[in-house]
Symmetry: C2
Subunit: 375 residues, 2 copies
């Protein structure tokens, strides 16, 4: 039984940030907790947003979000939220800030600890309420602004995906202007995150044709415009299209994701490396496309069309060429992953929520093969 | 500024009708007004639905919905709704019953007359509330179960499109089982309605890429499966895919529609003929595809891909061939339209809401040309 539920109200265009005060008012937020990171303060984006707020709405800025957000950071942020008397969250940044903001909203509404909400253990039923979140992405990749999920590294070391329709932000404000200053490397890594979302969501066997259509449209845009966005960050058309690809990627992954994300989550929890999720997706994607090929013949035809490839073209090779063109690393070793990391990667990938919706079930041996192919 | 708002919860599969009692409870409906038509009573579908209701929920059946629903019928139905103390609507049927059900819900919540809610005159602002509607389609075409609109022939003769997010049903129950008995002619006509929705919604220049993706996915399904559904009404896969095409068509036309619908609405209001909306769409579509071609080069490439046509194939010809294959009339004359009807068609098409979102603006002369090409 497919249950198709569509999502949040999204204001999407250059200048959309002007909609923020109205959306805070709609959400009943009088004192906003701005969840962000120090880099965005330095880049002046936090100021852009607080300027847009005007005088009507008070706020408190938390800029301590780490690259892969941790439960410790969530607890620190929650303390500030409570002490400052905030009544809602503006999640401002890339996936990390938006994920941290969503986690704070969950704990503010329903109390801790986070681990009790593990969706694999039926934890979604324990959610009482979630404080309102308005999401303002500053990268084009995660799409967390319209997604049902967020990911936090727990104190016990697990990198856990939380998922519930209650985690969908009340509104998303997608202003490509906020991505114009993103450096080429981050543009490439986040862009491949969005493209991976579109591809993995399209491929999962869960039944949701509208989400598949959204995924293919996002892929069509992202595949055309990512090289241009990396080459010239001031290319406004490319920035708009990449942000749309990102939003569509997350609108589509309500269907689920797959083995790429299972392995990226497993690798993202290695603290000594603090690897970028989008870069990991880009590096794992070719091996997973080869692994899934036997189960996805008809869908690969449609992927090739969306990517403008010739009939029968090798999808994995196309991804490898794209990674090279936009300057992403050729494999896991170049990112610091060592042979000793592999057993842990396999264990955590097998346990990951996304592993369950891969089109071809993957055993430990399969994951080992895909990881070794990605080295 | 694109504002992307997605839609209703849809239960979609064979057997989905079992979800009806739970959705009525979710919507707070204790006595349901079942808006339907005499044909569905005769076909036993009303009994299928009342059997699914069980004992917990009372209901009152209105089976007087005409083929193109009129304001008179809406008023008659509203009287029954009020007298019977109903507190919500089950809109059961094709587009006509669903549209009538939505109109009753609007008047029950906000009072009459209907004409004051004309969206072209800012009437949406006058809506105070709308009684809850659960939509249960029995054809695969209109998609009204997930759409923001409904169409009623007013007492003054206008065929008016009403549109507001408030008109989206609280839930849609899409059970392809309910379409298994649909005769070949109605399967063809409603199927081309769905396909036209996908094509026109994709082509309107309004900005909503997710809706475009949904439109292309719906077209991909409908174009493959419509001949099979017409040929063998018991083909369950074809029935499932056509119902999905229909739902996706309406999910996508939140973007808007175009000149096909402007002319179909104009022709649908000719009372002596009482023409089927889907058949009209099928007959007008080739001329509109020729008219729009100069503005839609890139989009036509994607339409051809979704329809499995060769690069550069003539889209209008492909539609004409499909109409022939599935037994639809070759033109307006075969449906009873005469030369004397043409001035009225032009006048009403020019005034129609859908005319405003056609990719190429159409003048009176343009509409006359398209109508004459469709004769």
């Amino acid at each position: 039984m497919a249950t198709l539920t569509y999502l949040t109200t999204t204001h999407f265009d250059f200048g959309a940030i002007a909609q923020l005060p109205a959306e805070l008012e709609n959400a009943g937020i009088t004192k906003a907790f701005i969840a962000t990171d120090a880099g965005l303060v330095a880049a002046g984006l936090v100021e852009t947003v607080t300027n847009a707020l005007g005088n009507a709405i008070q706020y408190s800025v938390y800029d301590g979000t780490p690259g892969n957000p941790t439960e410790e950071a969530v607890k620190e942020a929650l303390e500030q939220y409570t002490q400052q008397g905030c009544d809602g969250v503006v999640a401002l940044g890339g996936g990390s800030s938006m994920d941290l903001g969503k986690a704070v909203a969950l704990l503010a509404g329903s109390g801790g600890p986070l681990a009790q909400y593990d969706p694999l253990e039926g934890g979604a039923k324990l959610i009482k309420s979630v404080a309102p979140v308005i999401a303002v992405p500053t990268t084009a990749g995660t799409g967390s602004e319209v997604s049902v999920g967020f990911v936090i590294i727990l104190e016990d070391g697990r990198k856990m995906t939380f998922a519930s329709p209650l985690f969908i932000p009340k509104a998303a404000i997608c202003d490509p202007e906020l991505t114009m200053g993103l450096p080429a490397g981050m543009t490439a890594a986040t862009g491949m995150d969005a493209i991976t979302h579109c591809i993995e969501a399209f491929l999962t066997p869960n039944v949701n044709p509208p989400a598949e259509g959204v995924a293919l449209d996002g892929l069509w845009r992202g595949w055309q415009y990512l090289p241009a966005a990396v080459k010239d960050g001031q290319d406004r058309e490319a920035r708009w299209q990449m942000m749309m690809c990102s939003t569509e990627g997350a609108l589509s992954f309500i269907k689920g994701l797959g083995a790429v994300h299972a392995m990226s989550h497993a690798a993202g929890r290695i603290r000594r490396l603090n690897l970028h999720h989008g870069t990991l997706n880009a590096v794992f994607l070719p091996a997973v496309l080869r692994f899934n090929a036997s189960e996805c013949e008809e869908k690969y035809v449609r992927l090739r069309q969306a990517m403008g490839l010739e009939p029968g073209a090798d999808l994995a090779e196309a991804i490898t060429r794209m990674n090279e063109e936009i300057g992403l690393p050729p494999g896991l070793r170049a990112m610091g992953i060592e042979d000793d990391d592999i057993p842990g990667l396999i264990t955590y990938a097998m346990q990951d929520l996304s592993a369950r919706s891969n089109p071809r079930p993957a055993s430990e041996e399969d994951f080992e093969m895909m990881i070794r192919e990605s080295l």
